[in-house]
Symmetry: C2
Subunit: 388 residues, 2 copies
Amino acid sequence: MSMWSTFDRQMMTRALQLARKGRYTTRPNPNVGCVLTLGQKVIGEGFHKKAGEPHAEVHALEQAKSNIHSNTDPNESARGATAYVTLEPCSHFGRTPPCALALIHAKVSRVVVAVQDPNPNVAGKGIALLREAGIHVDVGLYQNEAIAVNDGFMKRMETGMPYVSVKVAASIDGKTALSNGISKWITAAASRRDVQRLRLRHCAIVTGINTVIEDDCSLNVRHNELGELSESLAETAILQPLRVVLDSNCQISLSAKLFLTKTPILLVSTQPYSAEFINSKPSHVECLLLPSLNGRVDLKSLFKHLGKDCNSVLIEAGATLAGAVIEQALADELWLYQAPILLGSQGRSCLTLPDYLQMSQTPEITLLDERKIGEDRCFRFKLTSKKL
Amino acid sequence: MSMWSTFDRQMMTRALQLARKGRYTTRPNPNVGCVLTLGQKVIGEGFHKKAGEPHAEVHALEQAKSNIHSNTDPNESARGATAYVTLEPCSHFGRTPPCALALIHAKVSRVVVAVQDPNPNVAGKGIALLREAGIHVDVGLYQNEAIAVNDGFMKRMETGMPYVSVKVAASIDGKTALSNGISKWITAAASRRDVQRLRLRHCAIVTGINTVIEDDCSLNVRHNELGELSESLAETAILQPLRVVLDSNCQISLSAKLFLTKTPILLVSTQPYSAEFINSKPSHVECLLLPSLNGRVDLKSLFKHLGKDCNSVLIEAGATLAGAVIEQALADELWLYQAPILLGSQGRSCLTLPDYLQMSQTPEITLLDERKIGEDRCFRFKLTSKKL
């Protein structure tokens, strides 16, 4: 690997910024950003916005074409340019033609790639194509940052499992509700808007039947609760995450509020639903039978199933399910929305976890990020997969 | 009240900074800072460092004297000057002569006072003395900040009760130990050093007999654990807080580690200690009998007693005592040292609080301050005295 110039770093930083612009809309595709430069000048920029639409490189090349002087051949607009891309350019014909070919046809002379695409359809073939065409390719600039931008996509491509985040709202004494279940509201409205945006970054939201029964929640993304994001994202552009309810014993009622919103719902049980239920359920609802573990849906099987289509899964559930995901070392992150209140020692715990006998048995967590949201705090922790 | 000039604000801000320099050493005296100016020039500064030693105004006047040109009469050094003081200059002969007189003798022409001294020996008399001498006095600049600098002194002078802070170390799920009591260490060494400095700001540390039995703690301030403060504060200058153990049923053993440190200890019980215990206890240990409430030392009686000498009390105790102080609306502040760990739902709660039935019954807390200490967080909350 070569040493990177300051200019290289600046351009890849910009490309990563661009990539992040797609974080609410590209799934299940990865977020990708691209910057095209000629000499020390940016001639085009782009990011991938939505599955099925052009990739970042194509947007950047289009911009370069429209930016050139009228006396230049549009097909020569990127000749000799350097392309900074946050993910290896694709090499396969999907819904769009391969970006590696687009860069070759545009006659760029150098491509800087942050990280190789783990998608088995690409996996180095894009880089190989470019090099065969005589283009100089450098790989690895801001690799960790580029992986973080696509944590879900990366994990799913490499392991078949989605990236799993557990969301918890709690008081400073670690409670999520009073003993009688009252929890409206622990966190302030601004935090709840933040959770709406968090949902939108995930391919699926998983909850348990008890949460559905107790809260009669909709679990959808509501445009009018997206805060500042609602201005830049049209309501019709909202990609609703798949709503998954773990309903081991087929307890759900079709009168639950959840069903009123007509976006996909997956009901997961460990015994078959009745024929009557199957016949009367709305068409946007699917049922899935999975093995049980201690009388509940086996979480590993669940994530394996979701990993077929979902990069990222958000657990928004009660303490039992949220705790189980952490206890079984299946969680990648914990998002803790902490409110400056005391709910008291009789309140409900935010996470049901085992009776640890030694400090070394407790889950290993590392703070990734911390934000103030009004009076609340949002802490984002990485969980390392220490087996309990 | 006049409008304050920018210069006035700058000078009082500086005087408050100076006052805070005494926060580890002046008790039970208040922290006071003074800045003397002539025109737009600072000619002297000072702060009160230690009870029995000169007050802030005297230090500032001394500095003004030593700063003057050799051809000026030293007694004229502050003629026409303005004195900015964070607390009303005293008017009574205590261990030192009254500062109001010192300012009058120095022929200052204006005194700006942040807040009147609630001490019944002063209480406006200092201001009156100055005005009678023809000095222009303005009162109220940064009054709230000046009260905060002396929260303990102010509360005690006004109510006879000390300012009570509860310190808690907890995991992000609100636990202070595993179920088996293991708690070493929740917070990191840097946080524990911070607690040493916190102790030093208090006149007394209160704990319960169970904490003494379980942790065999010393509850003293250790010079080698004061971190950066140990450089500016000599070990001999450490004013050890009174150590108070609530020992309702006279369970304490004279072999407890606590007794090895020869600074004052107060044992509080609700029944008399045995004559044998009284005869064999070390001389730095006193015993106090107080009324009981539900079989434990009545906390209101305790604080009333401590309020005779102590401005501020720090509760460093188990969840029962710490929770009771909050539950009985006797706490002014909560200091939460929060570590990025999960101790699990079976762990010990950090505060024993009642089973609240409505959100409105929970204690009302407001964030005053938040600091990062390594990976830990220190949150300082103000508790308002909503009766539960």
